[in-house]
Amino acid sequence: MSDETREGSLSTDETPGGSSAVAPATADTVIEVDDVNFAYVKGKDVLRDISMQINKGQVTAFIGPSGCGKSTLLRCLNRMNDLIPTAEITKGEIRILGTDIYDPSVDVIELRKHVGMVFQKYNPFPKSIYENVAFGLRIQGIKSKSVLDEAVERSLKLAGLWEEVKDRLDSSGLGLSGGQQQRLCIARTIAVQPKIVLMDEPCSALDPISTTIIEELITQLKDEFTIVIVTHNMQQATRVSDRTAYFYLGELIEMDDTIKIFNNPSRKETEDYVSGRFG
């Protein structure tokens, strides 16, 4: 990323120190993306020269037009792209908590326990609310009823769903409203106590009220989790995120504090996009 930003700062009259993203990894950095190229099919890189740092306890938003690679990068962070046989990182390294997550010694199962994911289309299992939240712990072999009960209650409370469902934990998760289902999915994700939660357009299938609830939830969750969220909604990015990364055609154009990105971006392209003059 350093190239990008330096270029950006040089071409404007900004003070050169404005790009804090070029700062070396600090103790607070949990995710470091280091000069990464990624291809779904050999020879066609959909991500190019991506470098960024994501800090602990912050909400980082990925914005950019459709098809620019936001989801792709997000899914690289918990190696969900492993599901696609030909997909691979062709250059660079992604380090989470200091470890290269594509190193052969890394167990992807363990990685995903630390890096949870909430999907665009809420996808609770056709099980009871309780079993949905307990799923992640059950597959880890936890059987103790008291441990599960405690985890389910804590996660549902964190997800702001406890009051609404505590009397019907045994009824199906599919019986909830869309917004409740998405919060159930968030509860399911945080039940395994990940360090990082990735969210790919978590509100895009929801009504405005549910969206507001989830946005509030996100700002509360950042005390405990580092959150990366992909969104198409500029207001949402300004409301929930501390830092914002703008992508365009597989490249990271600019990453900075959200306030700066939306009020005073270093790059012309970013300004055009966030002000709606894009295209």
Partner: protein, 383 residues
């Protein structure tokens, strides 16, 4: 504007929509007639088959007195039917076992005209039991192999040329004539399949010594219900695999992703968040396969079926192995026997039509059950 006089008055005699016969309309009429006729032709065939079978078969199965069903037809196995006349001109018709009894009871009775009709007496209990056993073995084997293959193809295998060829091969299997499966089953399961035994037979191709003086002998299972069940299973595998794959594909990708993202292993994800939801669909689709298997004659003709057998499967043996390695009677083969391999007479008709009627009703019940389950299942699926 409102001056009525300016509008030319509509003349009643000139109907603008007058019927006109054009070539296009004639063509339309011809095509729709042909299409309708073709459909009616199928209807007529179906009606003829069903009505004929019902008309001739139902009286064998149902009766006017209590219990209104001819229970003997369901509880007895096929026997030779005897018809004879005594000197005094009385006509008798009875199963062979009754006939022997009758002769013992009437030693002085002189029989003048006597005929025997093979397989036309008794009932169809033996064939029903045999078909049930064959079908059960077939379904267990086919579901197990089909399910595992489908899971592998759909969840594990990487996409590519080789896998496309595997799929093509499986689909082509569906086009193989059933008599070929019968011969294949004879060659593989009856003659070559391995058994564990203390004394391998002469015909065994290969004997691999095991512990305790036993051998893994490739001598085949002989003509047996297990060989028949396996042969039928291989025959419907393409159907089962396709059905299972279809059900797996219907499970949203989100379930797999969600559980993987929670740190599930691939197998945990499949076994906990895919298979439980795919299973009802698989079972439903497989029942339709059952109806097909139950009615097949060719695959069991060489591998499992017997025209006649005195004892029921459980009367003939005391070991599990012995149970499965005996031949059985089976409905389709029984129908073939009574329809084509015995001299026809009016006395053979009840058995012929009775068997066909019962079998048809049974198979239709299974088909209906399958359709009912499918509708029910579709209703329950919410994702």
């Amino acid at each position: 504007m409102h001056d009525q006089a300016t509008d030319p008055p509509l003349q009643k005699s000139e109907n603008p929509f007058q019927k006109k016969i054009t070539p296009q309309k004639r063509q339309d009429a011809v095509v729709s007639t042909v299409l309708r006729m073709a459909t009616y032709f199928i209807l007529i065939c179906a009606a003829f088959i069903f009505l004929d079978i019902i008309r001739k078969g139902a009286p064998v199965v149902f009766q006017t007195e209590f219990p209104f069903v001819n229970t003997k037809f369901f509880t007895d196995s096929p026997e030779t039917l005897m018809t004879f006349e005594t000197e005094d001109g009385t006509f008798y018709k009875m199963d062979f076992s009754d006939y022997s009894q009758w002769k013992r009871d009437n030693p002085e009775g002189r029989i003048v005209e006597e005929h025997s009709h093979a397989y036309s007496g008794g009932g169809i209990f033996g064939p029903l039991v045999g078909t049930a056993l064959l079908t059960i073995i077939c379904i267990i084997v086919a579901l197990f192999v089909g399910l595992t293959t489908a899971v592998y193809l759909n969840e594990y295998s990487s996409k590519g040329r080789f896998m496309d060829m595997v799929r093509l091969a499986i689909m082509n299997l569906a086009g193989v004539p059933s008599i070929v499966f019968g011969l294949f089953g004879l060659g593989l399961f009856c003659f070559v399949a391995p058994v564990i035994t203390g004394e391998p037979q002469e015909r065994s191709i290969l004997n691999i010594p095991l512990f305790g003086g036993n051998f893994l002998a490739f001598q085949g299972w002989g003509t047996s219900m297990i060989a028949g069940g396996f042969t039928l299973a291989v025959m419907i595998l393409p159907v089962i695999i396709a059905a299972c794959e279809e059900s797996l594909k219907a499970i949203p990708m989100g379930f797999r992703e969600a559980s993987l993202a929670l740190g599930a292993t691939k197998w945990q994800s499949i076994s906990k968040s895919v298979l439980p939801y795919a299973f009802p669909g698989m079972l439903t689709a497989s029942i339709l396969g059952i109806t097909r298997v139950a009615g097949e004659t060719a695959p069991i003709m060489f591998t499992a079926a017997l025209a006649h057998k005195d004892k029921l499967p459980w009367q003939d043996t005391d070991s599990i192995g012995g149970f499965f390695s005996q031949s059985v009677q089976a409905m389709p083969y029984h129908i073939y026997t009574v329809a084509a391999r015995i001299p026809q007479s009016e006395y053979t008709k009840p058995m012929q039509f009775g068997s066909v009627f019962v079998f048809m009703v049974l198979v239709m019940c299974f088909a209906a059950l399958s359709i009912f389950m499918r509708i029910n299942y579709r209703k329950r699926v919410k994702w």
